[in-house]
Subunit: 129 residues, 2 copies
DNA sequence: CTACCTCCTGGAGTCCTCTCCAAGTCAAGC
DNA sequence: GCTTGACTTGGAGAGGACTCCAGGAGGTAG
């Protein structure tokens, strides 16, 4: 079951350009090629793509960090500690971002509530006289 | 109490360039000037800056949207509904982002937990023989 | 008066993350 | 054997959000 770039692109909703770009900059490991140089994605590749997509699009982690993570990964078991440290650090940042966003969400809610009051007030004013 | 750009910059941790930039693109209202053209920030300005800083740095809302919000605001009460709609929409996006990040946080936690197991396992292996 | 500091403006430059493009190659169908 | 279509590459372009800079002016201190 050959997994071409177009199939992977479709499956993950990432453009072919983005997939090639990710590979080029070392965000995902080099993909195996057919005799004529065409990429053939394997299970492992798909896992990396899934991981990277999640960390980039959902968490917004910096590309830099993910490149470093893959680099460590490819250096083998000696980097387990370093990898874990990296993840823990990013986890911290992410948690912080979530906190920030949550407090901002509340702020927005307050603001919206005030709009509702104001607008409600106007409507009543229109109904009253 | 004149509030110069350097004071505002210090107070909010935004560079003077950023403050001028924000004003230029309509993210904050035009600031009053002294006779010689030097900005003198008032209470209202500070509130806008605080709001914008929060929405940009904490929530990551797009500059575009904030410009639109200010523009509506400056058009007066006729835009109350539109403004509220804008906020509600962004609130939704933000909530979604928070959800995404929260699920990613869990995923990171899982990954970290697995690293802990693996590394713990190694340590035990070292202690055992 | 001169020096100096902070401010001003408009425009160019930078960083990050893609995204697009031109030119070329290969496999398959007719 | 030629066309077609999906794939390849390296490099240029794009968009968002700043950030920096040159050149110039006002106010103050010595």
């Amino acid at each position: 079951m050959p997994m071409t770039i177009s199939e992977v692109s479709e499956r993950f909703g990432l453009s072919q350009d983005t997939l090639r770009y990710y590979e080029r900059i070392g965000l995902i490991p080099p993909v195996r090629r057919s005799a004529s140089g065409i990429r053939d994605y394997g299970e492992e590749d798909l896992k990396w793509i899934d991981f990277v997509k999640c960390m980039r699009q959902k968490a917004g982690l910096p590309v830099e960090m993910l490149i470093e993570y893959l680099a460590l990964f490819q250096q083998g078991d000696g980097t387990l500690d370093a990898r874990k440290t990296l993840l823990v650090e990013q986890r911290g940042r992410l948690a912080e971002k979530i906190d920030d966003m949550t407090s901002t969400l509340r702020r927005l809610d307050d603001k919206i509530a005030r709009y509702e009051q104001t607008i409600g007030g106007k409507e009543q004013a229109l109904r009253a006289p």
